[in-house]
């Protein structure tokens, strides 16, 4: 097998693609900009709907890709299009000539400080979904004080479905993530009152609705249909959120010990940068453009360039893994076609 296969991105999409290709007898190359594999999932604690530990997912994938060529702390300096292949120059000085690229560049979490009115980075008691997962993992965060957790609010759609945040799309997974995190927080602080401020709850996946029912019935999470528009700070450092309870048609106000912002998924800048180098088009939602959004979601318009995972739009973990497997199969068939 002398054909090089370059997988850009060492998150779960890149790892699963590599694992499948290894099983098929290829030796793919994974290029990862950070110092570890696993991407966003490595930062997470547990995964819905069965609360399986994210670390297990990353660990098992990592063991399966140990046979691949993995470049950590490596970025792509530039990509040259040759006649029927690409020359990829890496930041570590290595250049690779390949006919096959798998874009597994994933997404970026929306920078919550851009929603200035929510005061992330301004108020002490405001954090994001990622910060909360970090606390689940490490137990360390100055914002969470075990003795004073009486009321917590979750704000859905931060940087999603929002023209002002320059992302009009739904990020798909935040609804269920908020429900999951609300339950987890309630498990840690059974006496705390937990509110979810949502616009629409999109419980589309397997067993999500059960999760939602559980949150309502078993955990007493309060769901308030209204988008938070303003957050202010009390003298004691607690935050006051203002929203409209659109179901009763009345403005609501709540004083909270912690406010968790559900940052949405946007196309990462690095992803766009690499796409520009490879002359890949960007779709109107800001993510990479597929050849066809129904039939060929994992194929780019360029010959030999494939997509896996959230670089083409927000996806759950199982969806990403399924796409990664499909991408591996596409790569295999593509190589067969070349011979």
């Amino acid at each position: 097998m002398k054909e090089n296969i370059v997988i850009i991105g060492g998150g779960i999409a890149g790892m699963e693609t590599a694992a499948q290709l290894l099983d098929l007898g290829y030796k793919p190359i994974i290029i990862e900009k950070s110092d570890h594999l696993g991407g966003h999932v490595a930062d997470w604690n547990r995964l819905f709907p069965d609360m399986s530990p994210a670390a297990d997912v990353v660990r098992s994938l990592a063991s399966r890709v140990s046979g691949a060529n993995i470049f950590l702390n490596t970025e792509i300096s530039f990509i040259n299009k040759l006649k029927d292949s690409y020359n990829i120059m890496l930041s570590n000085g290595i250049s690779i000539v390949t006919r096959i690229i798998v874009m597994a560049t994933g997404f970026a979490l929306f920078d919550a400080s851009k929603k200035e009115e929510y005061g992330y980075g301004v108020y002490d008691q405001v954090m994001t979904n990622k910060d909360l997962e970090h606390w689940f993992n490490t137990g360390e965060d100055p914002r969470i004080n075990d003795s004073a957790m009486n009321a917590v609010g979750f704000v859905h759609c931060v940087g999603s479905r929002d023209e002002k945040a320059r992302n009009t799309q739904c990020s798909k997974v935040c609804c269920i993530t908020a429900v999951k995190q609300a339950i987890e927080l309630k498990q840690k602080f059974p006496d705390a009152m937990i509110y979810c401020f949502y616009m629409d709850l999109r419980m589309f996946g397997k067993k999500y609705e059960d999760f939602y029912i559980g949150a309502q019935r078993d955990y007493g999470i309060r769901f308030i249909r209204g988008r938070v528009s303003e957050v202010s700070e009390n003298i004691d450092g607690r935050v006051i959120v203002k929203a409209e309870d659109t179901l009763s048609g009345k403005p609501v106000k709540a004083t909270l010990d912690l406010l968790v912002l559900m940052s949405g998924m946007v196309c990462s800048q690095d992803s766009t940068k690499v796409a520009n180098m490879a002359r890949l088009p960007i779709d109107t939602d800001g993510f990479l453009k597929s050849r066809d959004n129904v039939m060929d979601i994992i194929e780019s318009p360029k010959e030999g360039v494939f997509y896996a995972g959230a670089c083409t739009g927000p996806k759950t973990v199982p969806e990403t893994l399924a796409e990664a497997r499909a991408a591996a199969l596409k790569v295999h068939l593509f190589i067969k076609g070349l011979e």
């Binding site: 200035e116 005061g119 301004v122 202010s232 700070e233």
Partner: protein, 634 residues
């Protein structure tokens, strides 16, 4: 001197004389109408200003500098300035010297006074051999040359406006073109006509030489009369179309300047002062390049020059469209060489719009609000008032409620400086009224002003501190708050730094300051925020700054521009700001800040946030503890 014709008359003067009389009558009627349309108090004020020596001298000075010399255009672009002043001043001098000449050499004028100064050369032969004669001949030729050079530049400008510092110019209307071509042809025709008579009536370096060089053609006196006819016709056509073209600005501006110097403001949307402004528009198109909406081609016809044109044409639907779209950034007003106030003119147009119903705030009870911020009243006998320290009431404003970083930083700075303060709109306030005013709903705006005035006067404060320039402007312009100083945070912070109440450590960050429209052009505050910034780091300037600063695109001024239509304007303004590649963008307006932050590639901060990060918290005072007692306490 000898008169060449006993009658002193020829039919060719008729087109000129008719045109001239027509224009004079038209202008006199217009003048009287505008003055009669002024509110009685304004009219009185205007007449008084005319006879007050100070304003009278100012009027003459302004008319000379603006109408003839066009100093504002010189400042903008030398070539543009020369073009305008050569035509205006040159023509004026031709008329002036022409009249002097007539007075010197003829007596017993009678009705001939109407046209003699214009066609003197045809009727009177004069000698240039005397000193006096030669000087006058020279002056006439010299100023004719000056005007001709201006006309030549004007022709070049039609083709290459960029040479004159203008990217785009106005699209002339049909009558404007007739006026333009007749104006262009007046002076070459005059040169031609006078060249014919140069060997008879005398001439100087221009006409005489021309007559000498083209002696074959110009000495043939059969061609003489048609040339004088053509010259007179060009003048006649120009004068006849003048009232219906942009050239109406020439007489109107002479009225506008004294009106403005008398302190008159726009009251009626179409009459009086507004009308004088509309007719003073020379259609030069400087506002087209200035307009921040101009980045989108579709908006070019919505600039002030076109508003004036549509108002003259009474095209109501276009007037409404143009006035509602505008961001009211005031840049067209700032660059306008004649002083048409594009923003105020538009607010006036908005104010005449008919609404079936409108808000009414009479049910709003402000006692809750007063109770929320009256600690200065409650504490009259406490140490607070005895320290002699100022009592600051901080009104963050609606927009700042959405950018809490600014209000938090402001409070932190006030704490560090040991200022005694109270927040007026902790739990949401009443809008300052400026957005309502911008929408042209003046009565409602006045009601909001009244409500807030009640709260502020009830607070016992002596200083009103504002974060938002939109509020600041209306507080400065429309509020009457006796004994209360109104300051924008940039002014206040500047004072705190210069009086040494804040300990600031200068960093090495390069900042560029964006002048918010309402703060800079609106209230004339340009230096204070820069002083604050230069205490925090290095300040670089945007390509266009201060008076010429470009609106962020987020302005509340526009009623019809939707969110999606503003992106291009914001990006254009950002490109202007980042010309000197600053590390960070600083501004002093919550609305500018959040608008820029949306599209900027580098951090955008309010000066309050910047100042807070570089200011030390004094060791002696901790948060919550009020300043040590002052010297009056003994």
């Amino acid at each position: 001197m000898r008169e060449r014709f006993l009658t002193g008359y020829n039919d060719f003067v008729l087109p000129f004389v008719c045109g001239m009389l027509f224009v004079i009558v038209y202008c006199m009627v217009g003048l009287i109408r505008i003055i009669m349309q002024l509110p009685a108090a304004d009219r009185k004020r205007f007449f008084i200003s005319l006879v007050t020596p100070k304003t009278a001298i100012r009027n003459i000075k302004d008319i000379f500098l603006k109408c003839l010399i066009h100093v504002d255009l010189w400042k903008r672009n030398k070539l543009l300035g020369y073009m305008h002043s050569s035509i205006a001043f040159g023509w004026f001098m031709l008329i002036l010297v022409g009249h002097i000449e007539v007075l010197l050499y003829t007596s017993d004028l009678g009705p001939k006074a109407l046209y003699y100064p214009i066609f003197f050369r045809y009727f009177v032969a004069e000698t240039e051999t005397t000193m006096k004669g030669a000087l006058i001949f020279f002056l006439m030729d010299f100023f004719l040359l000056v005007v001709l050079s201006g006309i030549a530049l004007a022709i070049i400008k039609r083709v290459r406006s960029r040479l004159f510092g203008m990217r785009r110019t106005t699209n002339p209307s049909f009558l404007d073109l007739i006026g333009l071509y007749s104006l262009w042809s007046i002076f070459p025709l005059r040169l031609l006509a006078e060249s014919f008579t140069a060997d008879i009536s005398g001439g100087s370096f221009l006409t005489k030489s021309l007559n000498y060089v083209f002696t074959e053609f110009l000495s043939n006196h059969a061609n003489m009369l048609p040339a004088w006819w053509a010259y007179s016709c060009a003048l006649g056509v120009f004068f006849f179309v003048l009232p219906f073209t942009r050239y109406m600005h020439i007489p109107t501006e002479i009225l506008l300047i004294p009106l403005r110097n008398a302190g008159i403001r726009i009251v009626n949307a179409r009459k009086g002062f507004a009308r004088a402004q509309v007719y003073s528009c020379p259609s030069c198109g400087l506002c087209i390049d200035a307009c921040p909406m101009g980045v989108l081609k579709g908006n070019i016809k919505d600039t002030t020059v076109y508003l004036n044109r549509q108002i003259r044409r009474k095209n109501e639907s276009r007037i409404e469209e143009i006035s509602d779209k505008c961001l009211l950034c005031g840049k067209c007003t700032a660059v306008c060489p004649v002083g048409v106030e594009g923003d105020k003119l538009r607010i006036a147009q908005r104010s005449v719009r008919h609404y079936n119903f409108g808000p009414d705030y009479s049910n709003i009870d402000i006692s809750d609000q007063i109770n929320g911020c009256n600690k200065f009243v409650k504490n009259t006998n406490s140490f607070v008032s005895s320290t002699g320290n100022e009592r600051v009431l901080y009104f963050a404003g609606c927009m700042t409620a959405l950018t809490p970083a600014i209000s938090k930083a402001t409070c932190s700075i006030l704490d560090k400086a040991g200022t005694d303060y109270e927040i007026m709109d902790k739990d949401g306030g009443i809008c300052c009224g400026r957005p309502m005013l911008m929408a042209g709903r003046l009565i409602q705006a006045a009601q909001l002003v009244e409500k807030n005035t009640g709260i502020i006067l009830g607070s016992g404060a002596d200083t009103l501190l504002l974060s938002c320039p939109i509020c600041y402007r209306i507080f400065k312009e429309k509020y009457t708050l006796p004994g209360i100083r109104i300051v924008h945070h940039s002014e206040y912070f500047d004072e705190l730094i210069s009086s040494g109440r804040l300990r600031v450590t200068k960093g090495d960050v390069r900042y560029v300051f964006h002048d918010p429209c309402e703060l800079g052009r609106g209230c004339g505050i340009y230096e204070q925020p820069r002083n604050v910034l230069s205490a925090a780091g290095e300040v670089v300037e945007a390509e266009k700054n201060r008076k010429e600063s470009i609106c962020c695109g987020g302005s509340l001024g526009s009623l019809t521009l939707g969110f999606d239509k503003r992106k291009a304007m914001t990006e254009n303004a950002l490109n202007n700001l980042t010309a000197a590649s600053p590390d960070r963008i600083a501004t002093a307006c919550p609305l500018c800040m959040s608008t820029f932050a949306r599209y900027s590639d580098r951090p955008v901060e309010d000066i309050a946030m910047i100042l807070d990060t570089v200011t030390e918290r004094p060791a002696a005072r901790s948060a919550g503890v009020r300043p040590v007692k002052g010297k009056t306490d003994n």
